[in-house]
Symmetry: C2
Subunit: 190 residues, 2 copies
């Protein structure tokens, strides 16, 4: 019977981040991550299929938050307004844990080709979920994919600004500002 | 001393495609691919780092063709006109080999999660190369990324139409039409 493991996921992600920083991604085993987190290897595998998935853990949550936000936008909202609702939903759910881990996550990902691939695939997955949610609202195909891409770019830009050491703004504010800027860039392109 | 191996890459890609269709991606070894192609395993590894890379072989070529096209666009061209030049350059280089293999490639990729990931990463890589080429022309960051994404969507759409059994149009014609449609979709979004 599994022990009750409050925050096991958080602890595993934090432990993995520390170990990857200290001794590299390739040089770290799942057993070491579990030990550092004070958990067992089998607990690790209840939460993540593989070592390479531990840092892209938030993908499903983020995809669901964005897709739900898009789905919940008022009827008749333009694609960009629906995307804004998706970003609002995702940004509102980010915690101090996400904020604190962001820059370290970024630094560790930059050290490993495999982690960079995971990160790129994570972004492709989130964009696909947003595209799907827009299609479900009746947004035609290429417009849906482009609007989702605009949303992804806005979220990435805002997230980077949010995790900067001297930032004082809320993530929701920052995503709104980024989306507005990108919407302007679209007009420039169109 | 390596033998002279005319078309070794083509033969390896074709052999891999056949074997993946017949017996699955997971059930196929590099040795079998090399044998089917009438080549040695070491020849395989001179051309590809790994089994998973054999079907995304065109990435570097495609990235280079698109980036060169973008770089060669007339001075003062808008980002979309530069992207059009990139697509023109890539579309013009596609051969009957690419056309014939396209649908089979697509079908095989759909059977394996690992190949789907490779394919997604390939697309991310090409988009990054186009973004970089646009940046080098002085296109600001988010506009460059969006314009590259528009180009990717246009190329994918056109490539799919080109490889359809009843298609009579040239790929360059199809990419121009797709890009025009997507440019219209941009205006709708912006």
């Amino acid at each position: 019977m599994p022990r009750w493991e409050p925050d096991a996921r958080h602890r595993l992600v934090t432990a993995a981040l520390h170990l990857f920083s200290e001794q590299g991604y390739d040089g770290t085993t799942v057993t070491e991550i579990a030990q550092r987190a004070g958990l067992t290897k089998s607990t690790f595998f209840r939460h993540f299929p593989d070592k390479k998935d531990v840092l892209s853990a938030g993908q499903e949550t983020l995809s669901r938050l964005m897709a739900d936000g898009v789905a919940g936008a008022p009827e008749g909202a333009t694609p960009i307004v629906a995307v804004a609702a998706g970003l609002e939903s995702a940004a509102g759910a980010m915690t101090p844990f996400n904020r604190e881990l962001g820059p370290r996550l970024h630094a560790v990902i930059a050290t490993s080709a495999e982690l960079q691939e995971r990160d790129q695939l994570k972004q492709v997955g989130i964009a696909a979920a947003v595209t799907e949610a827009l299609r479900a609202r009746g947004v035609p195909d290429p417009v849906a994919a482009l609007a989702a891409e605009v949303g992804m770019l806005a979220f990435k830009e805002a997230y980077t600004a949010w995790t900067a050491p001297d930032n004082q703004q809320e993530l929701t504010e920052l995503t709104r500002a980024s989306l507005e800027r990108l919407h302007g860039a679209l007009a420039e392109l169109g």
